[in-house]
Every structure is written in C-alpha cells, then in structure tokens.
C-alpha cells in the first residue's frame, strides 16, 4: 500500500513538470513578453526593455522556466503581474472559499444521488423525479441554473442574497445564506453525474445472486437495498467523488464567477483575463496536484470500502 502511494506521488512530479512547462512555453510563445502585457499597449520599447531586464524576462525561456520551478519548489511562485502581490498571498485566501464550496456541494450531491437512487419505496413515483433532476443536472449549464435560482429566490422572492460572499467571522447565518444558491447550483451537475454512475452499477449488482438470496430470505426491500445493494454499488461513486474534488481544486469556475465568490476559480478567470502568468501557472499546478492527490485518496478509500480490491 505504502509503496503504491509513494509511486503515485512520484508519478505526479513529472506530470506536474511536463504540464507547467507546456503551459509556460506556449503561454509565452503565444502571448508575448509579460513586460508588454504588464505595461499595456502604449508602453515604449525602452520601458519594456527595462522591465524585461529587471524581471529577467530577457533571459532564454528554458532558464526562466527552471528558475520558476526551483522557486516554486521552495514555495515561492513569484509576484502577480497585475497586483505586484506575491502569488502565494493572492491565491491562499481563495483556497478555503473554493474548498468549502466544492466539498459541501460534492458531498451533498453524492449523498443525495446514492440515497434517492437506492430508495426502493415508491420507485414508480420517485423514479421519474430523480431521473428528471439528474437530466437537468447534467444538461442545464451551471450558469443557466444559477441565474434561474437567483431570479426566483433573490429577485422574485427576495429570500436569499443574489451574489457575494461573507466570511464565517461576520456571522454564521449570513455566511450560510450566501452559500445556499452556489452550493445547489454546483451540486446539481454532480448529482446528475453520480446518479448515472451509481445507477449503472446498481443495475449490475441487483442481478447478482446474493441480492436474490437476501430477498428470498424475506428481508425487507429497503434493508436489501441499503444493506446489501448499496455497499456493493457505491465504489464507482467514490472514484467519481475523488475525480470531481480533484477537478474542483482549480475552483468552480462558472459558479464562483456567477455568484462573485472570491475563490480560486474566479481568480483563475480574472488572471486569464489580465494575462497574469504567475497566477495562472500556480493555479494550473495546484489543479494537477489536486487531481493526483484526490485520485489517490479515492483509491485508498476504495480499498477501505472493499477489501477484495487491492490496488497495485
């Protein structure tokens, strides 16, 4: 087990280097010198030259890249080109916002998907509702769902704030009020994804002999569903929860932008808009780390949930 974890983590390092190198070289090749971007269109060539020299943008690209990697390994990701703040201090405050949103939305989606799809009682009535919610979740884009919710609950009913975010410190109630719509918006999509994955597995599990045996013994339908079918069908959901958490380390781009939440996703969008390389690169690297770590966690959870499986 330990060797597998170590091997996975070691594999993450070349992946990270390859991806950031790719990003580094293509970004510079396609967008031109960061100095030109920083100074704007009206900058004189002399000013660009001076800034290039000051920040070392005039050195060969590969040296700049190695320099960046070496500093990044020490936790120094450089300074944002737009705000001149250090990248770490720009990104760090965004991380808890994104993590809270992502974790709550994904857990909620996973619990709801597993529970509603397991429930045997009233499958005839509940089934179409669950399927409908599931289809809406994966086909209606986040922004459309979010705007509809904002229209109904903020503009028309006035129950919840439309956008913005308040920290825990300024009151629990205000914080939760601002979180409800974004969480619902984000979790709808994942509810759809998890439902599809779980239902497919459940269909297979329900055909197996031990389910028939449990039914034949006269165990109640809901007990068969929750105690016998559920544990055997939940594994793929765990994988997808890990995958989704990993993908969301870079932020829930659309949801955060729509609701003006100060998370990494919105920071990524704004850094892309202002061509702020150091911030973009650091977030890209964070995403790769997140994806690798979360997949690893999912694999570990997998073996805990089902001792029959040993990853190797």
């Amino acid at each position: 087990m330990l060797t597998i974890i170590v091997r996975r983590l070691l594999l993450a390092i070349p992946t990270m280097i390859a991806l950031t190198a790719l990003l580094f070289f293509t970004l510079t090749a396609l967008l031109g010198s960061p100095a030109a971007v920083m100074l704007g269109q009206d900058a004189s060539p002399d000013a660009i030259q001076a800034l290039n020299a000051r920040y070392g943008f005039d050195r060969p690209l590969y040296i700049q890249y190695f320099d960046w990697i070496a500093s990044a390994a020490r936790g120094d990701f450089g300074r944002s080109h737009t705000t001149q703040q250090s990248v770490a201090s720009t990104i760090l405050p965004c991380v808890p916002v994104t993590l809270e949103l992502a974790a709550i939305a994904i857990l909620l989606a996973a619990l709801a998907a597993v529970f509603t799809n397991t429930l045997p009682a009233g499958r005839a009535i509940l089934g179409p509702v669950v399927l409908g919610a599931n289809l809406i979740g994966i086909t209606v884009p986040n922004f459309m769902l979010g705007i509809s919710l904002i229209f109904v609950f903020s503009v028309a009913l006035g129950w919840l704030p439309s956008t913005g975010w308040t920290p825990w410190s300024s009151g629990l109630v205000e914080h939760v009020k601002h979180m409800i719509l974004p969480v619902v918006t984000l979790s709808a999509y994942y509810f759809g994804v998890f439902s599809i994955v779980y239902r497919a597995e459940l269909r297979d599990v329900e055909k197996r002999l031990f389910i028939q045996a449990a039914r034949a013994k006269g165990i109640s339908r809901s007990r068969v569903a929750f105690r016998h079918a559920l544990p055997n069908a939940i594994l793929p959901v765990i994988t997808f929860v890990g995958l989704s958490m990993g993908q969301l380390t870079g932020g829930a781009v659309v949801t955060e932008t729509l609701f003006s939440m100060p998370g990494t996703g919105r920071l990524l969008v704004s850094s892309i808009g202002s061509h702020d390389f150091p911030v973009m690169l650091a977030i890209a690297m964070m995403i790769v780390v997140g994806v690798v770590l979360m997949n690893l966690l999912a694999d570990i959870a997998y073996t805990v949930a089902n001792p029959q499986i040993r990853i190797d």
């Binding site: 992946t15 990003l23 293509t26 970004l27 396609l30 967008l31 289809l135 809406i136 994966i138 086909t139 209606v140 884009p141 986040n142 922004f143 459309m144 705007i147 509809s148 904002i150 229209f151 503009v155 497919a200 995958l243 990993g246 993908q247 969301l248 870079g250 781009v253 659309v254 932008t257 729509l258 990524l268 969008v269 892309i272 808009g273 061509h275 973009m280 890209a284 995403i287 790769v288 994806v291 997949n295």
Partner: protein
C-alpha cells in the same frame, strides 16, 4: 431501441436544426439590427423583449442556434478525427503503444475540461474556428478511450483472427473489420460529444471567451442579460433555456445506447 427518451431527444434536435436552417424565415427581425427600443419588455412585437442595444432577443436566440450547432458538430468532428485513430491504433496494437496512449488519455480526462478550454482559448484567441479546434482538442481523449475499450473485445473475435490468417495488414483489418463494428457506439458517443461541446462552449462564452460580438451566441447573451435580470429575466433565461434544450436533445439521443 426506440425508447421515448430517444424520440424526445430527436424531436428537440429537429426543433433546433429547424431554427438554424430556417432562421431567416422564422426570426421576426434581423438579429443584428439595433433599434431605439432598448430593453423593452416582452410584448406581441418582441416576444422575449429587446436587449440593451434594442435588438430583438427572440431573433437572436433563433440565429444563435447556428453558432451553437456549428461549434457542437465541428468540435465533435475534430474530437472524432483525433480520438478515433488513437483509440483504434492503441486498442488494436496493444503493448507499449497502448500503455502510453492510456496514460496520456487518463491524464487528459482527469483534468477539468472547462479550465483547459479556458486556458487554450485565451492563448489562441476566441473565434469560431479556434473554438471548434480547442473544444475538439479538449474532448478527443474521451472519444479515444471509448473506442479503445470497444476495440479490445473485437480484436479477439474469430473474424479478426481469420482476417489476420489470410494475411490482412493491420491498417486493412482496422479499416474493414474493427472500425465498422465500433460504429454504433461511436455514433452515440458523437451525439454526447456534441452536447458536451455546446455545454462547454456556452460556459466559455458566459465567462466572456466566446464568439466575439455581435454574432448571436447563447452563452454571451446570457451573460449580457444577467445585468438586467430584474428588468427582463428573459434576456438571460431565453438563450439559457435554448442551451439547455439543445444539450438535452443531443444527450438524450446519445445516452440511449450506453
């Protein structure tokens, strides 16, 4: 299997296709013509109202079908053109080629597609042609993965062994025996890919990286209308619903053959 899902899906696609093809006849106004009636509410003259430049929103939604379908089909085609050869060759050849492809595919698939598309689009610049290429490039790995999975059992089939025994070259076997047998699943996946492409491209334009104005583009319209949600929600919800209907249609058709 002609399930109700498939029929509903086909009906929705037919509706959107009709909008795209018959746009000049269906749309009551020129989608690009502004008027002085800024932000007028829904009325019998402008069913969905007019936008901040006084353009008829319904006409823009109808014309927007063209943009979305071109991006959806174009991107799915690009994804197929890259993904199919990779999947076929990896699955049929096996060994080291397969291993490298699978590692590459898994890496791509686990990265968030929207973020990838976002970063590449900002580098190459948003234009219709670039968006098609970028989205196709983001989506090819899932196509490749699906086709590879289809090839593995077919490779072991007796008719393929027979084809090898009579001296068929790998290219001939893939083209004549393997590819046709993956067609059913590939066709379904194509529809799903179209739906994802439209989903992602509308999200990109919502974030401000879509087709540059004034071309009618649903995601961009939702974004522009968002500021006027309290005045006329249909500015946003109209084009947003169009995205939902289109994505749903292609998804329903594609997901019936899973």
């Amino acid at each position: 299997m002609s399930s109700p899902r498939r029929i509903v899906g086909l009906a929705l696609i037919a509706l959107i296709l009709a909008c795209a093809v018959l746009a000049p006849w269906l749309a009551p106004y020129d989608p690009l013509r502004s008027s002085v009636a800024f932000l007028s509410p829904p009325s019998s003259a402008n069913w969905l109202g007019t936008d901040e430049l006084g353009r008829d929103v319904l006409s823009r939604v109808i014309y927007g079908a063209r943009t979305s379908l071109v991006i959806g089909f174009g991107a799915a085609l690009v994804a197929l053109l890259i993904g199919a050869p990779v999947g076929l060759i990896a699955g049929y050849t096996g060994g080291r080629v397969d291993m490298v492809s699978v590692v590459l595919i898994d890496l791509f698939v686990s990265l968030p597609g929207l973020v990838l598309a976002l970063v590449i689009t900002v580098m190459v610049g948003p234009s219709l042609q670039n968006l098609v290429l970028v989205l196709g490039f983001v989506m090819w790995p899932s196509v490749a993965r699906l086709i590879r999975g289809q090839v593995l059992p077919i490779r072991e089939a007796t008719f393929v062994e027979a084809a090898r025994a009579v001296g068929g070259s790998p290219a001939w076997i893939i083209g004549q025996h393997i590819w046709p047998n993956t067609m059913r699943v590939v066709a379904a996946q194509f529809a799903v890919t179209v739906s994802f492409a439209i989903f992602t491209s509308s999200s990109l334009s919502f974030l401000g990286l879509g087709i540059p104005p004034p071309t009618p583009d649903w995601g961009g319209m939702v974004r522009a209308g968002y500021d006027f949600l309290a005045i006329n929600p249909l500015l946003s919800l109209g084009p947003g619903a169009a995205v939902g209907v289109t994505v749903l249609g292609f998804y329903l058709v594609g997901s019936t053959v899973e």
